[in-house]
Protein backbone atom coordinates (compact mmCIF):
# COMPACT_ATOMS: atom_id res chain seq x y z
CA UNK A 1 0.00 0.00 0.00
CA UNK A 2 2.05 2.91 -1.22
CA UNK A 3 -0.30 5.81 -0.72
CA UNK A 4 -1.32 6.10 2.95
CA UNK A 5 -4.23 8.34 3.83
CA UNK A 6 -4.31 10.61 6.86
CA UNK A 7 -6.89 12.93 8.37
CA UNK A 8 -5.88 16.59 8.44
CA UNK A 9 -9.11 18.40 9.17
CA UNK A 10 -12.34 17.82 11.06
CA UNK A 11 -15.75 19.46 11.04
CA UNK A 12 -18.92 18.68 12.95
CA UNK A 13 -22.27 20.32 13.50
CA UNK A 14 -24.36 18.18 15.82
CA UNK A 15 -27.14 18.23 18.41
CA UNK A 16 -24.38 18.49 21.05
CA UNK A 17 -22.24 21.17 19.47
CA UNK A 18 -21.86 23.88 16.87
CA UNK A 19 -18.37 22.70 15.93
CA UNK A 20 -15.89 19.91 16.64
CA UNK A 21 -14.50 21.28 19.89
CA UNK A 22 -17.92 21.88 21.44
CA UNK A 23 -19.24 18.53 20.19
CA UNK A 24 -16.21 16.68 21.53
CA UNK A 25 -16.28 18.42 24.91
CA UNK A 26 -19.97 17.62 25.32
CA UNK A 27 -19.43 14.03 24.17
CA UNK A 28 -16.75 13.53 26.83
CA UNK A 29 -19.04 15.18 29.37
CA UNK A 30 -21.83 12.77 28.44
CA UNK A 31 -24.29 15.46 27.46
CA UNK A 32 -27.53 14.54 25.73
CA UNK A 33 -28.64 16.54 22.70
CA UNK A 34 -32.10 14.99 22.60
CA UNK A 35 -35.00 17.35 23.19
CA UNK A 36 -38.74 17.52 22.83
CA UNK A 37 -39.72 18.96 19.43
CA UNK A 38 -41.71 21.96 20.56
CA UNK A 39 -43.35 22.67 17.22
CA UNK A 40 -47.02 22.60 16.27
CA UNK A 41 -46.20 20.24 13.38
CA UNK A 42 -45.07 17.54 15.83
CA UNK A 43 -48.50 17.24 17.41
CA UNK A 44 -50.03 13.81 17.10
CA UNK A 45 -46.79 12.11 16.05
CA UNK A 46 -45.83 8.91 17.84
CA UNK A 47 -42.30 10.25 18.29
CA UNK A 48 -41.95 13.89 19.31
CA UNK A 49 -38.28 14.01 20.24
CA UNK A 50 -35.12 14.60 18.24
CA UNK A 51 -31.54 15.77 18.33
CA UNK A 52 -31.57 19.26 16.89
CA UNK A 53 -28.80 21.55 15.67
CA UNK A 54 -29.10 24.91 17.39
CA UNK A 55 -27.07 26.94 14.87
CA UNK A 56 -29.08 29.04 12.40
CA UNK A 57 -27.45 28.35 9.01
CA UNK A 58 -28.56 31.76 7.74
CA UNK A 59 -26.37 33.38 10.39
CA UNK A 60 -23.32 31.35 9.38
CA UNK A 61 -23.58 31.07 5.61
CA UNK A 62 -23.90 33.77 3.00
CA UNK A 63 -27.66 34.48 2.95
CA UNK A 64 -28.13 34.18 -0.81
CA UNK A 65 -26.17 30.91 -0.97
CA UNK A 66 -28.07 29.51 2.01
CA UNK A 67 -31.49 30.14 0.46
CA UNK A 68 -30.41 27.97 -2.48
CA UNK A 69 -29.71 25.00 -0.23
CA UNK A 70 -31.91 22.54 1.61
CA UNK A 71 -31.17 22.52 5.34
CA UNK A 72 -29.31 19.22 4.92
CA UNK A 73 -26.90 20.89 2.50
CA UNK A 74 -26.60 23.96 4.70
CA UNK A 75 -25.47 21.85 7.66
CA UNK A 76 -23.09 19.89 5.45
CA UNK A 77 -21.47 22.99 4.02
CA UNK A 78 -21.03 24.47 7.50
CA UNK A 79 -19.24 21.31 8.69
CA UNK A 80 -17.07 21.29 5.58
CA UNK A 81 -16.11 24.94 6.05
CA UNK A 82 -14.90 24.07 9.54
CA UNK A 83 -12.96 21.00 8.37
CA UNK A 84 -11.40 22.85 5.45
CA UNK A 85 -10.26 25.73 7.66
CA UNK A 86 -9.02 23.22 10.24
CA UNK A 87 -6.87 21.62 7.54
CA UNK A 88 -5.36 25.05 6.88
CA UNK A 89 -7.41 25.76 3.71
CA UNK A 90 -4.86 23.84 1.61
CA UNK A 91 -3.61 25.60 -1.48
CA UNK A 92 -3.98 22.57 -3.74
CA UNK A 93 -4.22 22.17 -7.50
CA UNK A 94 -7.99 21.72 -7.76
CA UNK A 95 -7.50 18.92 -10.32
CA UNK A 96 -6.17 16.91 -7.36
CA UNK A 97 -9.01 17.79 -4.98
CA UNK A 98 -12.09 15.56 -4.71
CA UNK A 99 -15.30 15.30 -2.71
CA UNK A 100 -17.11 12.26 -1.35
CA UNK A 101 -20.11 13.56 0.55
CA UNK A 102 -23.56 12.13 1.02
CA UNK A 103 -26.94 12.25 2.62
CA UNK A 104 -29.37 9.48 3.42
CA UNK A 105 -32.63 11.31 2.88
CA UNK A 106 -31.59 14.54 1.16
CA UNK A 107 -33.81 17.53 0.55
CA UNK A 108 -37.06 16.14 1.89
CA UNK A 109 -37.89 19.30 3.82
CA UNK A 110 -37.62 21.30 0.61
CA UNK A 111 -39.81 18.76 -1.21
CA UNK A 112 -42.50 19.24 1.41
CA UNK A 113 -42.22 23.02 1.37
CA UNK A 114 -42.41 23.24 -2.42
CA UNK A 115 -45.23 20.70 -2.58
CA UNK A 116 -47.21 22.92 -0.24
CA UNK A 117 -46.49 25.91 -2.48
CA UNK A 118 -47.50 23.92 -5.56
CA UNK A 119 -50.84 23.06 -3.97
CA UNK A 120 -51.55 26.41 -2.39
CA UNK A 121 -50.19 28.85 -4.99
CA UNK A 122 -49.89 26.84 -8.20
CA UNK A 123 -47.18 25.40 -10.42
CA UNK A 124 -45.75 28.75 -11.49
CA UNK A 125 -44.71 29.53 -7.92
CA UNK A 126 -42.52 26.46 -7.46
CA UNK A 127 -39.00 27.70 -6.75
CA UNK A 128 -36.66 27.35 -9.75
CA UNK A 129 -33.96 26.10 -7.37
CA UNK A 130 -36.10 23.17 -6.22
CA UNK A 131 -34.34 20.53 -8.32
CA UNK A 132 -30.80 21.54 -7.34
CA UNK A 133 -31.98 21.69 -3.72
CA UNK A 134 -33.58 18.25 -3.59
CA UNK A 135 -31.35 16.09 -5.78
CA UNK A 136 -29.50 13.52 -3.67
CA UNK A 137 -26.10 14.79 -4.87
CA UNK A 138 -26.96 18.35 -3.87
CA UNK A 139 -24.87 18.44 -0.69
CA UNK A 140 -21.87 16.90 -2.45
CA UNK A 141 -22.17 19.33 -5.33
CA UNK A 142 -22.41 22.36 -3.05
CA UNK A 143 -19.43 21.11 -1.05
CA UNK A 144 -17.58 20.71 -4.34
CA UNK A 145 -18.38 24.32 -5.24
CA UNK A 146 -17.34 25.46 -1.78
CA UNK A 147 -13.81 24.07 -2.15
CA UNK A 148 -13.58 24.20 -5.96
CA UNK A 149 -12.94 20.46 -6.33
CA UNK A 150 -12.25 19.28 -9.89
CA UNK A 151 -10.96 15.73 -9.43
CA UNK A 152 -14.52 14.48 -9.01
CA UNK A 153 -17.50 15.02 -6.73
CA UNK A 154 -19.25 11.85 -5.59
CA UNK A 155 -22.27 11.23 -3.42
CA UNK A 156 -22.87 7.74 -2.14
CA UNK A 157 -26.41 7.10 -0.94
CA UNK A 158 -26.74 4.17 1.44
CA UNK A 159 -29.13 5.35 4.15
CA UNK A 160 -27.42 5.44 7.53
CA UNK A 161 -24.16 4.05 6.12
CA UNK A 162 -23.85 6.96 3.69
CA UNK A 163 -21.13 9.06 5.23
CA UNK A 164 -19.05 6.03 6.25
CA UNK A 165 -19.28 4.91 2.63
CA UNK A 166 -18.16 8.40 1.65
CA UNK A 167 -15.04 8.01 3.79
CA UNK A 168 -14.39 4.61 2.21
CA UNK A 169 -14.79 6.16 -1.23
CA UNK A 170 -12.47 9.04 -0.37
CA UNK A 171 -9.86 6.58 0.88
CA UNK A 172 -9.99 4.70 -2.42
CA UNK A 173 -9.89 7.91 -4.42
CA UNK A 174 -6.60 8.90 -2.82
CA UNK A 175 -5.12 5.42 -2.88
CA UNK A 176 -5.94 5.17 -6.59
CA UNK A 177 -4.11 8.42 -7.18
CA UNK A 178 -7.16 10.28 -8.47
CA UNK A 179 -6.65 12.96 -5.83
CA UNK A 180 -4.30 14.10 -3.06
CA UNK A 181 -7.02 15.58 -0.87
CA UNK A 182 -10.65 14.53 -0.62
CA UNK A 183 -13.35 16.22 1.45
CA UNK A 184 -15.38 13.37 2.93
CA UNK A 185 -18.47 13.17 5.08
CA UNK A 186 -22.19 13.49 5.12
CA UNK A 187 -25.18 15.32 6.42
CA UNK A 188 -28.82 14.99 7.34
CA UNK A 189 -31.65 17.31 8.27
CA UNK A 190 -35.00 15.64 7.95
CA UNK A 191 -36.58 16.36 11.28
CA UNK A 192 -39.95 17.08 9.72
CA UNK A 193 -43.47 15.73 10.09
CA UNK A 194 -43.33 13.28 7.20
CA UNK A 195 -39.92 11.76 7.99
CA UNK A 196 -40.77 11.27 11.64
CA UNK A 197 -44.19 9.82 10.81
CA UNK A 198 -42.58 7.49 8.26
CA UNK A 199 -39.79 6.21 10.52
CA UNK A 200 -42.30 5.88 13.36
CA UNK A 201 -44.60 3.94 11.07
CA UNK A 202 -41.79 1.39 10.68
CA UNK A 203 -41.71 1.24 14.50
CA UNK A 204 -38.07 2.31 14.27
CA UNK A 205 -38.27 5.31 16.61
CA UNK A 206 -38.26 5.63 20.35
CA UNK A 207 -41.53 7.00 21.66
CA UNK A 208 -40.18 7.93 25.08
CA UNK A 209 -41.51 11.44 24.51
CA UNK A 210 -41.72 12.50 28.13
CA UNK A 211 -38.06 11.73 28.85
CA UNK A 212 -36.17 12.93 25.77
CA UNK A 213 -32.72 12.65 27.35
CA UNK A 214 -33.36 9.03 28.33
CA UNK A 215 -34.80 7.95 24.97
CA UNK A 216 -31.65 7.00 23.09
CA UNK A 217 -30.32 4.08 25.14
CA UNK A 218 -28.24 1.69 23.04
CA UNK A 219 -27.63 -1.73 24.63
CA UNK A 220 -29.98 -0.99 27.51
CA UNK A 221 -32.63 -3.65 28.04
CA UNK A 222 -35.36 -0.99 27.88
CA UNK A 223 -34.33 0.53 24.54
CA UNK A 224 -37.29 1.08 22.24
CA UNK A 225 -35.93 2.52 19.01
CA UNK A 226 -33.67 5.24 17.73
CA UNK A 227 -34.04 8.99 18.12
CA UNK A 228 -33.71 10.99 14.96
CA UNK A 229 -31.01 13.63 14.92
CA UNK A 230 -29.83 16.19 12.44
CA UNK A 231 -26.29 17.29 11.74
CA UNK A 232 -23.20 16.81 9.65
CA UNK A 233 -19.64 15.63 9.85
CA UNK A 234 -16.70 16.33 7.56
CA UNK A 235 -13.16 14.98 7.36
CA UNK A 236 -10.30 16.14 5.20
CA UNK A 237 -8.52 13.03 3.94
CA UNK A 238 -5.09 13.53 2.51
CA UNK A 239 -2.26 11.49 1.05
CA UNK A 240 0.29 11.23 3.84
CA UNK A 241 3.36 12.53 1.97
CA UNK A 242 1.36 15.41 0.54
CA UNK A 243 0.21 16.31 4.06
CA UNK A 244 3.71 16.05 5.50
CA UNK A 245 5.19 18.20 2.72
CA UNK A 246 2.76 21.02 3.31
CA UNK A 247 3.24 20.77 7.07
CA UNK A 248 -0.35 19.79 7.82
CA UNK A 249 -1.50 18.84 11.30
CA UNK A 250 -2.25 15.11 11.25
CA UNK A 251 -5.01 13.69 13.46
CA UNK A 252 -4.55 10.05 12.50
CA UNK A 253 -4.59 7.50 9.72
CA UNK A 254 -7.54 6.08 7.78
CA UNK A 255 -6.00 2.66 7.69
CA UNK A 256 -8.74 0.70 5.98
CA UNK A 257 -12.35 0.28 5.01
CA UNK A 258 -14.63 -2.70 4.65
CA UNK A 259 -17.98 -2.81 2.91
CA UNK A 260 -20.58 -5.51 2.40
CA UNK A 261 -24.28 -5.99 1.90
CA UNK A 262 -26.69 -8.25 3.75
CA UNK A 263 -28.67 -9.61 0.81
CA UNK A 264 -31.42 -10.19 3.31
CA UNK A 265 -34.12 -7.52 3.79
CA UNK A 266 -34.89 -3.95 2.75
CA UNK A 267 -34.95 -2.65 6.32
CA UNK A 268 -34.25 -5.34 8.92
CA UNK A 269 -30.64 -6.22 9.67
CA UNK A 270 -29.62 -9.82 9.06
CA UNK A 271 -30.21 -11.14 12.61
CA UNK A 272 -26.88 -12.97 12.93
CA UNK A 273 -24.95 -9.91 11.76
CA UNK A 274 -23.16 -11.89 9.07
CA UNK A 275 -22.99 -9.03 6.57
CA UNK A 276 -21.84 -6.58 9.20
CA UNK A 277 -19.21 -9.06 10.38
CA UNK A 278 -17.90 -9.33 6.81
CA UNK A 279 -17.53 -5.56 6.58
CA UNK A 280 -15.57 -5.54 9.85
CA UNK A 281 -13.30 -8.38 8.70
CA UNK A 282 -12.73 -6.68 5.34
CA UNK A 283 -11.75 -3.50 7.18
CA UNK A 284 -9.22 -5.41 9.29
CA UNK A 285 -7.76 -7.08 6.21
CA UNK A 286 -7.65 -3.82 4.31
CA UNK A 287 -5.83 -2.19 7.22
CA UNK A 288 -3.47 -5.15 7.46
CA UNK A 289 -4.55 -5.54 11.09
CA UNK A 290 -5.55 -8.37 13.41
CA UNK A 291 -8.58 -8.67 15.67
CA UNK A 292 -6.28 -8.25 18.67
CA UNK A 293 -5.14 -4.84 17.39
CA UNK A 294 -8.61 -3.39 17.95
CA UNK A 295 -8.86 -1.39 21.19
CA UNK A 296 -12.06 0.51 20.52
CA UNK A 297 -15.21 0.35 18.41
CA UNK A 298 -17.55 3.25 17.86
CA UNK A 299 -20.58 1.07 17.26
CA UNK A 300 -23.51 1.79 14.99
CA UNK A 301 -25.72 1.05 18.04
CA UNK A 302 -28.84 3.01 17.22
CA UNK A 303 -30.84 1.81 20.23
CA UNK A 304 -33.24 -0.40 18.29
CA UNK A 305 -34.04 -3.74 19.93
CA UNK A 306 -32.98 -5.88 16.91
CA UNK A 307 -30.19 -3.77 15.44
CA UNK A 308 -28.07 -3.59 18.58
CA UNK A 309 -28.12 -7.36 19.00
CA UNK A 310 -27.31 -8.04 15.35
CA UNK A 311 -24.34 -5.71 15.61
CA UNK A 312 -23.14 -7.42 18.78
CA UNK A 313 -23.22 -10.75 16.96
CA UNK A 314 -21.28 -9.18 14.10
CA UNK A 315 -18.63 -7.78 16.45
CA UNK A 316 -18.30 -11.15 18.18
CA UNK A 317 -18.10 -12.98 14.88
CA UNK A 318 -15.50 -10.59 13.45
CA UNK A 319 -13.27 -10.30 16.52
CA UNK A 320 -13.98 -13.49 18.47
CA UNK A 321 -12.44 -13.49 21.95
CA UNK A 322 -10.50 -10.33 21.12
CA UNK A 323 -13.77 -8.42 21.54
CA UNK A 324 -13.41 -8.85 25.30
CA UNK A 325 -10.43 -6.48 25.27
CA UNK A 326 -12.25 -3.82 23.27
CA UNK A 327 -14.10 -0.84 24.69
CA UNK A 328 -17.24 -0.03 22.74
CA UNK A 329 -19.13 3.23 22.79
CA UNK A 330 -22.50 4.24 21.39
CA UNK A 331 -22.41 7.99 20.85
CA UNK A 332 -25.91 8.01 19.36
CA UNK A 333 -27.02 7.91 23.00
CA UNK A 334 -26.04 11.62 23.01
CA UNK A 335 -26.49 12.83 19.44
CA UNK A 336 -29.40 10.69 18.35
CA UNK A 337 -29.13 9.07 14.93
CA UNK A 338 -27.81 11.48 12.33
CA UNK A 339 -28.64 9.02 9.52
CA UNK A 340 -26.51 10.14 6.56
CA UNK A 341 -24.38 12.26 8.88
CA UNK A 342 -23.78 9.53 11.46
CA UNK A 343 -20.77 7.75 9.98
CA UNK A 344 -18.80 10.96 9.55
CA UNK A 345 -19.60 12.41 12.98
CA UNK A 346 -18.78 9.08 14.62
CA UNK A 347 -15.54 8.89 12.66
CA UNK A 348 -14.67 12.28 14.13
CA UNK A 349 -15.31 10.78 17.59
CA UNK A 350 -13.22 7.71 16.76
CA UNK A 351 -10.24 9.71 15.51
CA UNK A 352 -10.29 12.12 18.44
CA UNK A 353 -10.74 9.21 20.82
CA UNK A 354 -7.56 7.56 19.56
CA UNK A 355 -5.65 10.82 19.42
CA UNK A 356 -6.58 11.90 22.94
CA UNK A 357 -6.87 8.42 24.43
CA UNK A 358 -10.38 9.12 25.69
CA UNK A 359 -13.57 7.38 24.65
CA UNK A 360 -16.87 9.23 25.18
CA UNK A 361 -19.31 7.47 27.49
CA UNK A 362 -22.58 5.85 26.43
CA UNK A 363 -25.61 7.40 28.11
CA UNK A 364 -28.61 5.67 29.64
CA UNK A 365 -27.04 2.24 29.93
CA UNK A 366 -28.78 1.40 33.18
CA UNK A 367 -29.28 -2.31 32.60
CA UNK A 368 -27.15 -3.72 29.83
CA UNK A 369 -28.94 -6.27 27.67
CA UNK A 370 -27.36 -9.53 28.78
CA UNK A 371 -27.30 -10.81 25.22
CA UNK A 372 -24.84 -8.02 24.39
CA UNK A 373 -21.59 -9.07 26.03
CA UNK A 374 -19.29 -6.15 25.36
CA UNK A 375 -17.40 -3.66 27.51
CA UNK A 376 -19.17 -0.35 27.08
CA UNK A 377 -17.71 3.02 28.06
CA UNK A 378 -20.22 4.60 30.42
CA UNK A 379 -20.57 7.13 33.24
CA UNK A 380 -17.28 8.82 32.35
CA UNK A 381 -14.81 8.86 29.46
CA UNK A 382 -12.86 5.62 29.18
CA UNK A 383 -9.11 6.14 29.23
CA UNK A 384 -7.26 4.09 26.62
CA UNK A 385 -3.84 2.67 27.42
CA UNK A 386 -0.94 4.67 26.02
CA UNK A 387 -0.14 2.11 23.32
CA UNK A 388 -3.71 2.03 22.02
CA UNK A 389 -3.49 2.62 18.31
CA UNK A 390 -6.31 1.02 16.34
CA UNK A 391 -10.10 1.45 16.29
CA UNK A 392 -13.13 0.70 14.16
CA UNK A 393 -16.24 2.68 13.34
CA UNK A 394 -19.32 0.74 12.22
CA UNK A 395 -22.17 2.15 10.14
CA UNK A 396 -25.08 0.21 8.72
CA UNK A 397 -27.99 1.37 6.61
CA UNK A 398 -31.50 0.33 5.65
CA UNK A 399 -31.12 -1.74 2.52
CA UNK A 400 -28.48 -3.92 4.15
CA UNK A 401 -25.47 -1.65 3.61
CA UNK A 402 -22.58 -2.37 5.96
CA UNK A 403 -19.51 -0.17 6.26
CA UNK A 404 -16.64 -0.39 8.72
CA UNK A 405 -13.83 2.18 8.74
CA UNK A 406 -10.51 1.45 10.47
CA UNK A 407 -8.52 4.27 12.01
CA UNK A 408 -5.11 4.25 13.62
CA UNK A 409 -3.21 6.83 15.59
CA UNK A 410 0.06 6.22 13.71
Amino acid sequence: MSRRVVVTGLGALTPIGKNVSETWANALAGKSGIVKINQPWAEGLAAQIAGLVTVDPFEVLDRVSARRMDRSTQLGVIAVKEAWADAGSPDINKERLGVFFGTGIGGLSTVLEQYDILNSRGPDRVNPMTVPMIMPNSAAAMVGLEVGARAGVHSPVSACATSAEAIAGALEMIRNNRADIVVAGGTEACVNRLAIAAFASMRALSTRNEEPELASRPYDINRDGFVMGEGAGALILEEEQYAIKRGAKIYGVVSGAGMSSDGYHIAAPEPEGAGAASAMKFALTDANAKATDVVHINAHATSTPVGDIAEYKAMRSALGGALDNVVVTATKSMTGHLLGGAGAVESVFTILGLKEGLIPPTLNLDNQDEEIKVNVAKDKPFKLSSGANFALNNSFGFGGHNVCIAFSKN
Partner: protein
Protein backbone atom coordinates in the same frame (compact mmCIF):
# COMPACT_ATOMS: atom_id res chain seq x y z
CA UNK B 1 -46.13 54.09 -9.46
CA UNK B 2 -43.18 56.14 -10.55
CA UNK B 3 -40.22 54.60 -12.34
CA UNK B 4 -38.10 55.30 -9.28
CA UNK B 5 -40.48 53.39 -7.02
CA UNK B 6 -40.46 50.39 -9.35
CA UNK B 7 -36.64 50.45 -9.57
CA UNK B 8 -36.44 50.66 -5.81
CA UNK B 9 -38.84 47.73 -5.33
CA UNK B 10 -36.94 45.68 -7.93
CA UNK B 11 -33.71 46.47 -6.09
CA UNK B 12 -35.16 44.96 -2.91
CA UNK B 13 -36.19 41.82 -4.82
CA UNK B 14 -32.80 41.52 -6.55
CA UNK B 15 -31.07 41.81 -3.23
CA UNK B 16 -33.28 39.22 -1.57
CA UNK B 17 -33.08 36.69 -4.41
CA UNK B 18 -29.60 37.17 -5.81
CA UNK B 19 -27.70 39.23 -3.26
CA UNK B 20 -27.39 42.21 -5.60
CA UNK B 21 -26.24 45.40 -3.87
CA UNK B 22 -29.35 47.61 -3.96
CA UNK B 23 -27.34 50.74 -4.64
CA UNK B 24 -26.08 49.24 -7.91
CA UNK B 25 -29.57 48.80 -9.31
CA UNK B 26 -30.56 51.44 -11.87
CA UNK B 27 -32.55 51.53 -15.11
CA UNK B 28 -29.52 51.20 -17.37
CA UNK B 29 -28.12 48.06 -15.71
CA UNK B 30 -28.32 44.71 -17.46
CA UNK B 31 -29.60 41.89 -15.25
CA UNK B 32 -27.10 39.39 -16.59
CA UNK B 33 -24.02 41.42 -17.52
CA UNK B 34 -24.04 44.14 -14.86
CA UNK B 35 -25.92 42.61 -11.94
CA UNK B 36 -24.85 38.97 -12.57
CA UNK B 37 -28.36 37.58 -12.15
CA UNK B 38 -28.26 34.09 -13.68
CA UNK B 39 -31.19 32.55 -15.50
CA UNK B 40 -32.48 30.57 -12.51
CA UNK B 41 -32.35 33.63 -10.28
CA UNK B 42 -34.11 35.59 -13.00
CA UNK B 43 -37.02 33.13 -12.81
CA UNK B 44 -37.26 33.81 -9.10
CA UNK B 45 -36.97 37.58 -9.60
CA UNK B 46 -39.83 37.41 -12.10
CA UNK B 47 -42.00 35.44 -9.65
CA UNK B 48 -41.37 37.95 -6.91
CA UNK B 49 -41.99 40.88 -9.27
CA UNK B 50 -45.28 39.36 -10.42
CA UNK B 51 -46.38 39.10 -6.80
CA UNK B 52 -45.16 42.57 -5.90
CA UNK B 53 -46.62 44.45 -8.86
CA UNK B 54 -49.65 42.26 -9.53
CA UNK B 55 -48.68 41.62 -13.14
CA UNK B 56 -48.09 38.54 -15.27
CA UNK B 57 -44.71 38.41 -17.03
CA UNK B 58 -44.81 35.58 -19.59
CA UNK B 59 -41.61 33.66 -20.40
CA UNK B 60 -41.56 35.04 -23.93
CA UNK B 61 -41.45 38.56 -22.45
CA UNK B 62 -38.75 37.75 -19.91
CA UNK B 63 -36.14 37.29 -22.61
CA UNK B 64 -36.81 40.84 -23.81
CA UNK B 65 -36.18 42.25 -20.35
CA UNK B 66 -32.44 42.77 -20.67
CA UNK B 67 -32.13 45.77 -18.39
CA UNK B 68 -33.84 46.98 -15.25
CA UNK B 69 -35.33 49.77 -17.39
CA UNK B 70 -36.89 47.19 -19.74
CA UNK B 71 -38.54 45.58 -16.73
CA UNK B 72 -39.80 48.93 -15.43
CA UNK B 73 -41.36 49.73 -18.81
CA UNK B 74 -43.04 46.33 -19.00
CA UNK B 75 -44.40 46.53 -15.46
CA UNK B 76 -45.83 50.03 -16.06
CA UNK B 77 -47.47 48.89 -19.28
CA UNK B 78 -48.90 45.73 -17.76
CA UNK B 79 -50.19 47.14 -14.49
Amino acid sequence: MTDEQIVSDLAVILNEVAGVDQSKVSAAKSFLDDLEVDSLSMVEVVMAAEDKFGVKIPDEEVKNLRTVGDAVAFIKKAS
